[in-house]
Assembly symmetry: C2
Homo-oligomer: 300 residues x 2
């Protein structure tokens, strides 16, 4: 949920430009990296550099070379040529290992038999260097080559670059996607609300919970949390997926989950899609649930 929420914010900030997960190296282990790539894709990311996530979940793969790939070659031109030979369909070259602008100027001399798809800038002042690289590419007849940027980006940095009109076509995000510094954890827990058919709750000061099985109804302007057997207006959001430890139906395809996220986001009022929304999405409690909570369902 943390990764998906962060990815949604980055995708919204990118306003149609691609956001790609580069987060594996900052994930808390391989599994966290794969699950994070999946969460980011569901949230609207264009793809991932995590090959296992591609194999396991069908998340589109996207990536470029590492600095170490450039350094492992005798010089940068040899590294670029070797990458183009190995990945002829996806030639995206990393420009900032030694000198970004010199690397950009060298691209006009690349063999035209390997069509260059894009370049990546991973350091330096992106707002200053991306336009310079764009101008060099355009001057060399490479107007169709896309510029990707990465390097510690979060949704605020992406928003700033997009608002300034910086010519960047896609963003690679890692650390701030899989280990967000502003929300490193989600303070949410499962609570027991019903046992053996009877509602339960906890009474600790400041940690009081609402007893009983719930349903949530999504209405045009709000979500309403109600008791499980209430029938209110709106779309019920909770559906039973397991019974006696078994799934009731196969999971929906990843693409369907992703489409649902996109459709639900499109229904959000624009003020709630802002990076710093002034107010929260309205969530209210039904009268019946309020009643049972106040009555104190559980005798002590």
């Amino acid at each position: 949920v943390v990764v998906a929420s962060k990815a949604v914010r980055m995708v919204l900030a990118a306003r149609g430009r691609a956001v790609v997960d580069f987060g594996l190296r900052r994930a808390a282990g391989a599994e966290a990296g794969v699950l994070g790539a999946r969460a980011a894709y569901i949230a609207g990311a264009a793809g991932t550099s995590n090959v296992l996530a591609g194999l396991r979940f069908g998340v589109p793969l996207s990536g470029t070379m590492a600095h170490s790939f450039v350094e492992a070659h005798e010089d940068e031109a040899a590294a670029f040529a070797a990458f183009a030979r190995a990945n002829p369909e996806h030639v995206v070259l990393l420009l900032d290992t030694y000198d970004t602008l010199a690397a950009a100027r060298s691209l006009g001399r690349l063999s035209p038999s390997r069509p260059l798809r894009g370049v990546r800038l991973d350091s330096g002042d992106l707002a200053r260097e991306a336009p310079e690289v764009r101008a060099i590419l355009d001057g060399a007849g490479l107007a169709r080559v896309r510029i990707f940027a990465s390097g510690g980006l979060d949704e605020h940095a992406i928003d700033e670059l997009v608002r300034r009109g910086t010519p960047i076509d896609g963003f690679g995000v890692g650390t701030e996607l899989l280990a967000p510094s502003d929300a490193p954890s989600l303070d949410a827990v499962y609570k027991l609300v019903e046992y053996d058919g009877r509602p339960r709750h906890k009474l600790s000061p400041g940690k009081r919970t609402l007893p009983g099985r719930k349903q949530v109804f999504r209405q045009p302007d709000r979500d309403v949390i109600a008791l499980g057997d209430e029938e209110l207006a709106g779309e019920p959001l909770l559906a039973q997926v397991m019974r006696k430890g078994r799934r009731l139906a196969p999971p929906p395809p990843l693409a369907a989950v992703r489409d649902r996220v996109r459709d639900q986001l499109a229904r959000l009022p624009p003020r709630l899609g802002a990076l710093d929304p002034v107010d929260a999405y309205p969530v209210t409690i039904s009268a019946a649930l309020e009643g049972i909570a106040n009555a104190g369902a559980r005798g002590r």
Copy 2:
């Protein structure tokens, strides 16, 4: 590394009191939880509530009940009795589901056939309630029953409770251990420094790296980073563990790794073991490494 560093800080702050990993529910997946429990144990934690980490790595298991366990029973007394029946060797009861002090007063009426080892407080004002619970226990002849505390604790909260002399014998830590809010990620990366026997480095502004294979010598007052073939005073810290993709020796037992951490920590000057050290551990670069870095090992 993030989890181990955070655990070391919590263990230092606890000054001999037990620190136990409760972090699984805040980990980025099951694997991250198991690896986090292992890292915390290496760093000096007394154990974990993560049963799989216990089975897989031999980390000592420690834990109490969840609030949902109490709520699932008809009343708290029934829950406590059921827990004592199921875990007769490790009766640690959670007091704060409904009313902490009332729960503490009920303990004197427990069957003496199930020796009570401890109680846990997971909410409320620990500095105020722990002494009250201690007094109730002592008054009921339960002076040997230990008090454990949990609930969003970090090393600063632990330090504060210990400095105030709060009667708490052990701390359960979760969120701040596995998803630390002050250091959610470690900005460290692998860099290629040698390829095919020749030193390599990166020249991006602000991201320049030191070329060549390294050794680090731990001297009494500092670590010195040197070239791989230098012989300086001190203990060399880097040892080759793999060659051609194969381990050269079996991994050391977890207990040996944990002992090494404890011994190395004991050698730290106290001012560097403080939660907010005024200066950093001294790390310098050997003259030879400085020379090769300045010479620019790689012609371009």
